[in-house]
Symmetry: C2
């Protein structure tokens, strides 16, 4: 009864949920930071190209045709201890490395610009297989981008050079604790 | 031939265009800042609640039903000289004052949070009648919010306590020059 098509379907669904969970966890963490006056960090709305709008009522606009656009920046930004914070969240199924194709070129360029202007840019990477969350600083990412041979960042580099984010209850993923370590170095 | 309904229609169109022009001018200015390595400031996408998505092709998603949401933050944020920048743009037709009902309460609260964490929050106000652009710092805005009797900020307060933004060719509206004055004080 295990038709290949069913398997594929299940895989798509579960991958999607996993990504959503990381995003939800980060959103909950940001709500905690905001409520406790720790930081102001928001997820940017998904960019959507609106083509057609209907007005079913006088003051009600219903978007009838629209398309998702590719984001030109990262998903999250805000302020923490007076510093500009900017990051993207990514999930990987790989046991050995984080494939760089997960990040758009213009997102890498955006993090480069942020770094140039004195902001703190990073990527939060979730290794699903190990159930481990890492803060990948732009500086470490840059080393791998400049090395054209590499198309992914090995898992052991995360262990050695990145900051592991601990899971908790409140906040769910206290990534700003790792930003503190980043600021110290 | 001058039916009242036509007049109203014309008025709606022109008001809308005016708002769009300010936004376009700020967007062009931000592009200039980015291209010249001066600052990284983006307009956030409009938040949209997606209800229904169709898939007319295998890898093409068409949003078929969606609604505009009220933004919980301001429209623009980014980084300049290592500082977190956060602002909203508003147009007014009034000759005498800027009505505070133009700004949502949660936007004011957002600017308050930004200010608390050491960011630079402000509103760019365009007085259409005078064709004048002002940078209204959060500190000046706060004085008027705390004074419950006041429902608007008089035009002369803009003249006295705000920073006038000059129109130019490139950049179109060099508001960061006024942020420099704000940083000095």
């Amino acid at each position: 009864m295990n038709y290949p098509i069913k398997k594929t379907y299940n895989k798509i669904i579960s991958t999607k949920n996993r990504g959503m969970n990381l995003e939800d966890d980060i959103n909950l963490t940001n709500e905690y930071y905001l409520a406790n006056n720790i930081a102001v960090i928001y997820k940017k709305p998904t960019p959507i190209q609106v083509v057609k709008v209907l007005y079913p009522a006088r003051n009600k606009a219903m978007i009838n045709e629209a398309y998702y656009k590719i984001p030109s920046t990262t998903d999250y930004n805000g302020i923490y201890k007076g510093r500009y914070i900017d990051f993207e969240c990514k999930v990987t199924n790989s046991r050995t490395s984080f494939p760089l194709r997960n990040i758009h070129n213009h997102q890498i360029n955006h993090l480069k610009n942020i770094n140039y202007h004195g902001g703190i840019g990073f990527i939060i990477v979730y290794f699903k297989y190990y159930n481990e969350y890492f803060l990948l600083p732009y500086a470490v990412l840059k080393d791998y981008i400049n090395n054209n041979d590499k198309k992914s960042i090995p898992y052991n580099i995360f262990k050695e050079k990145c900051f592991k984010i601990k899971e908790g209850f409140q906040p769910r993923l206290d990534y700003l604790k790792q930003v503190d370590y980043l600021l110290e170095n």
